[in-house]
């Protein structure tokens, strides 16, 4: 195999049934499918049929890095995963996940673009990779360990402290449908139940050490100039460009007068940081400050970055009181992983214990947060008693430590009620007989279950039809932050943001202030399509969702405009495949159409419009969300208009060149995207619209 620029050139294929280890040539997939998500979907389409169940040995766990992973390109140290998901509901369809940390880069330095895990081991094993040496080792001594201990043990057994590991916790071993794979302290392959898939293969984890290199096509100087230009446009995570007090309180850009990190051995004064100061980039965010307004900020030791990321959005915390619970005292968090249990009466210890438990047990807070709201509601309305459930609800008024530790352990170990909860919220609620209440009844305003069986992560009632469209078209919560980044986390004024939206999507109507939705406009469809395409690019190159695409910049001279072509420039520079912004966009469209084809195959119907592309009833009613921790800042009164949203869907399909009646890609579109084989296969299955 010749040495490629950007791509490593090999994908490792590990079959756990017959212990066969193969190296697949990456060149058969590139540049057509870019890397990461694109290649993952292609492998899924080629090798896993629509009838395979997520926890079957025939399902494959595909872990893919991309051509930029491991390079100097900012925030590129990520890993994308594709598999049939046991988490998604009602259909267990193919989904994707993405995680940061260092392991993506380590896989690339070991000489691989990704790892495909297939089959099922007869007994617990883990995979050890040291450059081209790959071994499947016994993991009976690791089975049952928490994720931190298991990783440390695996790294010890590599006899190289520079190795990096990813493992499942107890939840993954017990096949909790929402279990995650954890790497380092908190980097997780979250939504989608990847931990359960790994557990179903009797695979405890993967440990990697790579000493090789990632080559690039351009000269180091060229790449450096491009990287410096990119960094000059990135101010802070979540497109934060203006810090408070000038910017909004939710701004991702936190550095301001008198700001300090106080949780470490010595206080560190941050103060104001100039957006032009590249050597202080990572001091700008402060996740604990943004989230807790003082409660947990006292424990923030420092910001932590993933591999090659100058943005550093993670907050590293040490809470010594954790020793009381037998939980590791240090951990990292971003976003919901720490805030998911923080009702007003809870102590900081309960909040941090909840955070540490999900990471050490390998649980998914996005599902647990719904369970907490549902159980509380069931308890208040007398549907469930403390004794029956075995969960101390009364402890919540006293701080909640006992409540939350009991809940997490019960789910992860599938004990008592936890056995039902481990099925994920929609399936669990169905077993408890309260699914109807969750979808349209009394509990709907609290639990906020959205499409695909996942918690409402950016509510379409607050963030307009744009987020509604990305929600229904995706196979999980879309988790793309352009829209909420622009209107909420940037800290900028809505007038300035509207001008940026006009330049990018053709109209000021593309973006609405939070909770003040205006009727659908075609520019909203363009925005949604752009989010989908840049989403594919982000997961394929990969770059971090919290930073890319660079829609905004902190420069008033640029009218706060970012640069959407940066991804294509970085891709061209590193791989030597000279693609313009449009050409990379075309490749992303190809991958997105393939994604849709995979979905059609999994659902066994071409009519996704009626089945897959739905929002629960509650989004069309005037029910006010009452969830205390919520991504809703203020929902539009009366919710979404059903007719208006159907118009939006029709226009989205039309702009995509898909069949407007069914929402399926047409043969013409697929052939235009060089996917004739996909069209033929779909036609043979009678899943192509006439």
């Amino acid at each position: 195999m010749r040495e490629l620029n950007g791509w490593a050139g090999k994908i490792l294929r590990i079959n756990l049934t017959n212990n066969k280890i193969e190296k697949v040539d990456t060149e058969r997939y590139i540049p057509k499918y870019i890397g990461g998500l694109g290649i993952g979907l292609k492998i899924m389409w080629d090798e896993v049929s629509g009838d395979v169940k997520p926890l079957d040995p025939e399902n494959k766990l595909i872990l893919m890095a991309g051509p930029l992973t491991g390079t100097l390109s900012p925030s590129s140290g990520r890993l994308t995963a594709v598999t049939k998901s046991p988490h998604t509901w009602p259909v267990e369809h193919t989904t994707r996940g993405n995680m940061g940390g260092h392991i993506g880069a380590e896989i690339r330095f070991a000489g691989y673009d990704g790892i495909i895990v297939e089959g099922k081991a007869p007994k617990p094993v883990y995979v050890a990779i040291h450059d081209d040496k790959v071994a499947i080792r016994d993991a009976i001594h690791l089975w049952g360990l928490d994720t931190y201990d298991a990783q440390r043990q695996m790294i010890k057994e590599m006899r190289d402290s520079r190795a990096k590991a990813m493992v499942i916790g107890v939840a993954g071993e017990k096949l909790v449908r929402t279990a995650v794979i954890i790497h380092d302290l908190k980097s997780a392959l979250g939504q989608g139940g990847f931990g359960a898939v790994m557990g179903s293969k009797n695979l405890k984890g993967i440990v990697v050490r790579g000493t090789g290199r990632v080559k690039m096509a351009c000269s180091p100087k060229e790449l450096l100039d491009l990287v410096e230009y990119t960094k000059s446009l990135i101010a802070a995570p979540l497109h934060g460009i203006i810090p408070p007090p000038v910017g909004s309180a939710a701004s991702g850009y936190r550095a301001r007068d008198n700001l300090q990190w106080v949780g470490g051995p010595k206080k560190i004064s941050i103060g104001r940081v100039d957006p032009k100061d590249m050597n202080r980039m990572s001091l700008r965010p402060h996740e604990a400050d943004r989230r807790f307004a003082g409660k947990m900020a006292a424990y923030h030791v420092k910001n932590i970055g993933c591999f090659s990321c100058p943005v550093a959005c993670k907050s590293y915390m040490t809470v010594p009181a954790m020793n009381r619970f037998g939980i590791p005292q240090s951990g990292e968090f971003v976003c919901l992983s720490a805030t998911w249990y923080s009702p007003p009466a809870s102590t900081h210890e309960a909040t941090f214990a909840a955070k540490q438990l999900i990471d050490t047990l390998g649980l998914n807070p996005w599902d647990l947060v719904m369970w907490v709201f549902l159980l509380r509601w069931m308890h208040e309305t007398g549907r469930i008693t403390e004794k029956e459930a075995g969960i101390p609800f009364s402890d919540e008024k006293k701080g909640g430590e006992r409540f939350i530790t009991t809940l997490c352990n019960k789910i992860a170990r599938r004990e008592g009620l936890g056995d039902i909860m481990a099925e994920g919220l929609p399936r669990g609620a169905m077993k408890m007989g309260v699914l109807d209440d969750v979808l349209r009844g009394e509990a709907a305003g609290r639990v906020m279950l959205c499409s695909h069986g996942m918690w409402d992560h950016y509510d379409p009632r607050s963030y307009s039809q744009v987020l509604g469209l990305t929600w229904v078209m995706d196979n999980r919560d879309p988790n793309r932050h352009e829209y909420p980044g622009m209107v909420l986390f940037s800290g900028a004024k809505i007038e300035d943001i509207k001008q940026v939206a006009k330049a990018l999507y053709g109209s000021e109507n593309a973006i609405d202030p939070i909770g003040k939705i205006t009727p659908y406009h075609p520019s909203k469809g363009r925005f949604a399509i752009s989010i989908d395409h840049h989403g594919v690019i982000k997961d394929s190159l990969p770059t971090c969702d919290w930073v890319f695409p660079v829609v905004l910049s902190p420069n008033p001279e640029r009218k706060y405009m970012g640069d959407m072509s940066i991804e294509s420039k970085l891709f061209s520079a590193v791989t030597g495949v000279k693609w313009s912004e449009q050409e990379l966009d075309k490749a992303a469209e190809r991958c997105w159409n393939l994604h849709r084809a995979v979905t059609i195959r999994d659902w066994k119907t071409a009519n996704l419009r009626e089945s897959h592309d739905w929002l629960p009833e509650v989004y069309y009613t005037g029910l006010t969300p009452t969830t205390p921790v919520s991504t809703v800042v203020s929902a539009t009164e009366g919710g979404l208009d059903r007719k208006d949203f159907e118009t939006a869907k029709t226009d989205y399909y039309k702009q995509r060149g898909w069949d407007e009646k069914t929402g399926a890609p047409t043969r013409k579109k697929l052939e235009e995207l060089d996917l004739k084989d996909v069209a033929d296969k779909l036609a043979a299955m009678k899943l192509l619209p006439a």
């Binding site: 100097l72 330095f109 520079r162 290199r213 470490g264 420092k302 090659s308 590293y316």
Partner: protein, 190 residues
């Protein structure tokens, strides 16, 4: 290694032992001891701050990209990853390792081929790759293990401060790496 190369290296080794007889502990003592000429102190040095470091390893990537032409942290001259595991699980105070440009450069003293030289501008100790013959003595001599020896090339690399503008410092997003005036105290700091 072919025969000629082996012979040449043996000859150099024997020659050095014969002349000095002091290669075993050449760095024990003040400048100018054992008949060695004194070496000038470095003027600048790269220092790492554990409290500020965010563990992103952009320094390693920048170092290998700019100096080796490809991203490869195992070939960097600055190390965060080597002691990453010992801090990430406990307190997050990463121990970054940088070359201290020692007053009594043991690497320089240990090289029988005199391949490690002192840069005229920064007075940094650097490896002259044209002279380096791959004995690896410098790597063994460095008490901080800061010489990176490439087995495949049979050449050693060490931090040479990039001629006065270290790439790692330029890429550090947290001011954890600083390019500061050299001071003999830095020799002892951990």
């Amino acid at each position: 290694m072919n025969r000629r190369c082996f012979l040449r290296q043996s000859m150099i080794g024997i020659g050095v032992v014969a002349v000095g007889g002091s290669v075993v502990f050449p760095y024990n003592g003040p400048s100018g001891a054992f008949g060695y000429p004194a070496i000038p102190n470095a003027t600048m040095v790269v220092m790492h701050n554990s409290a500020l470091c965010i563990g992103c390893r952009r320094c390693e990537v920048a170092c290998s990209t700019m100096r080796e032409g490809a991203s490869q942290p195992s070939r960097a001259r600055v190390f965060i990853d080597r002691r990453y595991q010992e801090s990430i699980w406990t307190d997050g105070q990463f121990t970054g390792e940088t070359c201290r440009q020692c007053e009594e450069a043991p690497c320089l003293r240990a090289c029988p081929a005199e391949a490690i030289k002192v840069d005229e501008k920064t007075k940094a100790r650097y490896v002259d790759l044209k002279v380096c013959n791959g004995l690896g003595n410098c790597q063994r001599a460095c008490p901080f293990n800061m010489v990176n020896y490439f087995e495949d090339e049979r050449k050693a690399r060490k931090c040479d401060l990039c001629g006065g503008a270290p790439e790692c410092v330029k890429q550090c997003p947290a001011t954890a790496l600083r390019y500061v005036k050299w001071d003999p105290r830095y020799d002892d700091l951990d």
